[in-house]
């Protein structure tokens, strides 16, 4: 049976708090942990499939044009080679998150350097890889001088109407203190540790596909459309995903290629992208140019707020890095101007990379706030506290909950923030200048429709089933805890099955919405199960106390069920709460860095993040999400940048040796404070997302700490040693 909740109103019942099992929120270890540490957790490429062929993608060596000819014969005589697939259905790009349609086809039409154009299939990986390198391809290439490659030299188009309120220009001239600054951030790669992979099997009618994906509920639609196969004839499986960060939101080229090859050849085919291919043909985060105009009165209250940004993407792509997303509501100011523009250029698709928008918008905003604080002579924490709006500054909507002030205060206290007058270069240890900086954190709260089935079994255990994924975020843990709490079962008695499209459609993992969305679906199902159990006992559901497998003192659940399984499908939909409230997670970052006075190298000494994101569902996995976000903040601040060749636009640093993600030694002592709250308008479980908040502003705190340490104001991210050196005064 189905239990449906369309949430039009805040849920202030806080039902999870009224339960007695005592597992919700607890820092329990992951049920999937033992499989992960023993190497037995099966990721996509690990599945043993009989008689499986290996496919290796061949990628374009031109930027734009067409494949004129593929000389399959050039490799078909090589040992083990079975086929060269250059079917019309091969896709040229990865699907954007939630696209629900096939990405750009056919692959023969080339739009960026490194785009997949064909698949070579052989008996072994070594044979396929060799043949893919030898394959002769002729192109009709467009003249490089006609192809827009550089976002700086390409005229952008406005993304939408933007926000215009009052008169920003006038506010700037009449303000007691103002800043007008331009920032640049370079592109980022998700670089999930597991390369994109798929194994496809075709039995003549049905496809079974193991693939590394974040949102099976959307991916099955995209795959069906790309292949022209009915959804009901496809089964997608993704039980363990080796990281996503947005890069696996939509189906990508290897999954479609594996399916096409399996269908053509009648044998299973595995395709795993090389690391270089992942860099070259999966989503990039767009580089940005941002202009920040902040105008404040003598007390530091903002009267003008301008944030304009230019990003880029391929022609025909709807996605534009939503740089201004949290700037819309983070600080009050009557006169506002926010505008996003997109330059159409021929680099690989720009799409979601962890915290799209805020990951680059917030650091720039928070760096500009630091300059304003200095000009106004106000402590940076205090400046933020003075500018927290009581409702959405342009839409007038109330906030569902708002913990920025608490995060700023608790964070400052725990970090030992010195709120006295600030001046750079006050502390030196040998070659190193030491300084501190802070920033606010903000990330919009997203929530999606989701379904999950919960079966309370006659043996007193429960089974939770949904096609939702766990990409490292802790879905297996939190769904077990929600069901355990609601049904009065220890988590060991709750089995969570995920990542299979045979199960009810979840929300997918993306935009930090997974926990709140699918968690709510599990909650809705459990709530109905409680009503049915209460009916059996003959009491009201509110009076039903479930704990450790009992329904009241002596009444064992197994006796109550009397051999019967109870099953409910929970269906959650966000209703008017989405339109009636501004919902976001808030927080604050504090960083201490050291900057080498000779080399310009920055090392982060310690970092603290305080975050308010509604109910904490599992303290251990939530904290891990915060730690992950802070780690990404450090990467975005100091090392991560996609570098493109100015002549032919290819990505130069397309591997993990040249694209620098943080390593162990880059990550110092990190402290996380979770400011516990209940957000009734965020979801019926009062939870918001936490996967991304930890990197929404952190790089700004590091920029501000660099200035405090050595006096170098940087306007470009990442803040590499060369940039620090050239920004050092005298």
């Amino acid at each position: 049976m189905t239990a449906h909740l369309k949430q039009d109103k805040p849920d202030t019942r806080n039902l999870l708090d009224k339960m007695r099992q005592g597992v919700i929120g607890k820092p329990l270890s992951r049920p999937d942990g033992p499989a992960k540490v023993s190497g037995t957790a099966p990721y996509t490429a690990d599945h043993a499939v009989e008689n499986c062929l290996e496919g290796v993608l061949v990628t374009a060596t031109i930027v734009r044009g067409e494949v004129a000819d593929i000389d399959a014969q050039s490799v078909l005589t090589m040992p083990g080679v079975v086929a060269v697939i250059d079917d019309e259905r091969l896709t040229a790009r990865a699907a954007q998150g939630g696209a629900d349609e096939a990405p750009e086809q056919p692959a023969r039409k080339v739009g960026y350097f490194g785009q997949p154009i064909a698949l070579v299939v052989a008996e072994s990986f070594e044979e396929a890889r060799d043949a893919a390198k030898q394959l002769k391809v002729d192109y009709r290439a467009d003249d490089l001088s006609d192809i827009p490659l550089d976002p700086v030299q390409t005229d952008p188009e406005p993304q939408d109407d933007g926000t215009r309120q009052g008169d920003l220009a006038h506010a700037m001239t009449s303000a007691a203190h103002s800043v007008d600054l331009t920032y640049r951030t370079e592109g980022h790669a998700s670089a999930a540790m597991e390369p994109h992979a798929a194994i496809a099997e075709w039995d003549g009618k049905r496809l079974t596909v193991h693939a590394s994906l974040q949102m099976l509920n959307h991916n099955i639609i995209e795959l069906a459309d790309a292949l022209d196969v009915k959804e009901e004839d496809i089964r997608l499986i993704s039980r363990y995903v080796g990281g996503g960060f947005g890069s696996k939101l939509g189906i990508s080229e290897e999954t479609v290629a594996a399916c096409v090859a399996a269908m053509e050849l009648g044998r299973p085919v595995r395709v795993v992208m090389s690391r270089q291919q992942v860099f070259q043909c999966i989503m990039r985060r767009s580089e940005t140019k941002q202009r920040l105009r902040l105008a404040a009165d003598g007390d530091g209250k903002l009267i003008g707020f301008g944030h304009e940004a230019r990003v880029s993407n391929l022609p025909g792509e709807d996605f534009a890095e939503p740089v201004l997303q949290s700037s819309e509501f983070l600080y009050a100011a009557e006169n506002r101007l926010l505008q996003l523009e997109v330059a159409r250029i021929h680099r690989m698709t720009a799409g979601s990379v962890r915290a799209p928008g805020e990951a680059v918008g917030m650091p720039a905003l928070e760096a500009a706030m630091d300059v304003l604080a200095e000009k106004a002579g106000i402590d940076p924490v205090e400046l933020r506290l003075r500018n927290i709006p009581d409702k959405h500054p342009s839409e007038g909507l109330p906030f569902s909950s708002h913990k920025l002030a608490e995060c700023l205060k608790q964070g400052a206290e725990a970090f030992g923030w010195d709120s006295g007058p600030r001046k750079p270069r006050q502390r030196r240890e040998g070659e190193w200048w030491i300084g501190t900086g802070m920033a606010s954190a903000a990330r919009v709260h997203n929530i999606e429709e989701a379904k999950a089935r919960v079966t309370l079994k006659a043996d007193g255990t429960a089974l939770v089933e949904t096609d939702m994924t766990d990409i490292g975020t802790g879905t297996y843990s939190i769904l077990g805890q929600i069901a355990g709490e609601m049904l009065g079962l220890p988590v060991e008695k709750v089995l969570v099955e995920l990542g299979d499209t045979r199960l009810p459609r979840g929300s997918g993992s993306g935009g930090s919405w997974g926990a709140a969305s699918v968690g709510s679906a599990v909650f809705v199902a459990c709530n109905r199960l409680r009503e049915r159990l209460a009916g059996k006992v003959g009491i009201a559901a509110d009076d039903l106390v479930l704990k450790d497998g009992t329904a009241g003192n002596d009444l064992r659940l197994t006796d109550l069920l009397d051999g019967e399984d109870l099953c409910e499908e929970g269906h959650y939909e966000p209703g008017e709460i989405e339109d009636d409230y501004t919902a976001a997670g808030f927080g604050a970052f504090f960083a201490q860095v050291r900057v080498n006075r000779f080399t310009g190298e920055t090392r982060v000494d310690r970092m603290l993040g305080a975050f308010g994101f509604g109910r904490v569902l599992n303290e251990k996995t939530a904290r891990s999400q915060c730690l992950g976000g802070i780690t990404w903040s450090i990467g975005a601040a100091l090392t991560e940048s996609l570098l493109f060749d100015p002549v032919d636009g290819h990505l130069v640093n397309c591997d993990l040796a040249e694209y620098h993600v943080p390593v162990h030694r880059d990550i110092p002592d990190v402290e996380v404070i979770m400011v516990e709250e209940r957000d009734p308008a965020a979801s019926p479980i009062q939870a918001k997302g936490i996967g991304e908040l930890g990197m929404c502003g952190g790089a700004g705190a590091i920029a501000n700490a660099i200035y405090d340490a050595c006096g170098a104001r940087l306007f470009e991210f990442p803040m590499t040693p060369d940039r620090v050196l050239s920004a050092l005064p005298e």
Binding site: F125, A192, M193, T473, T621, S624, D655, V663
Partner: protein
């Protein structure tokens, strides 16, 4: 030619181009060892060759005639995990788990290196005993990338075991 994997002898007669990593994963179906880059840049494929850690993607299987290899499957199992494996679960020393087998293999060998007194960039002295400080562990584990950013928890897990086993 023969190679010993987790105590069991195997024949080495496949394609000479096969890396040790692909040999383990595809020929022997020991898929606990992961391929994150295939170019020695991420550490996900770390295994122990005669007790020393190595990126198995950077070496060909045929180069290991007579060698003894230990993979994550040889360090412990679901039913009887090693101390380090247990510590990773306790400290949430992972998120997606893809880098985890490599981290655990690497850390196992790293502790032996500290025990043997091998200095690192983080060591105060080139000679004499080395303490398993946080900075030592961070430096020595820096070849094992974790994109999920679980470093702080990985350090806590390794640090706990190192304290017990190295002091």
């Amino acid at each position: 030619m023969a190679i010993t994997i987790n105590g069991q002898e195997h024949d080495l007669s496949g394609d000479p181009r096969t890396t040790l990593l692909d040999y383990l994963r595809d020929d022997l179906r020991l898929t606990g060892t992961k391929k994150g880059c295939d170019h020695g840049q991420c550490g996900a494929c770390t295994v122990l060759v005669n007790g020393m850690r190595i990126n198995s993607c950077l070496t060909l299987a045929v180069m290991h005639d007579g060698d003894s290899i230990t993979t994550i499957e040889g360090l412990g199992s679901l039913g009887s995990p090693s101390t380090l494996q247990k510590a990773f679960v306790e400290h949430d020393g992972y998120q997606c788990g893809f880098c985890t087998p490599g981290q655990i293999c690497s850390a196992t060998a790293m502790m032996a290196e500290i025990r043997a007194g091998w200095p690192s960039d983080a060591s105060e002295e080139l000679e004499g005993p080395i303490g398993a400080t946080s900075e030592e562990i961070r430096e020595r584990m820096s070849g094992n990338l974790c994109r999920c950013g679980a470093y702080a928890n990985i350090l806590a897990a390794i640090g706990e075991v190192a304290e017990e086993e190295l002091s």
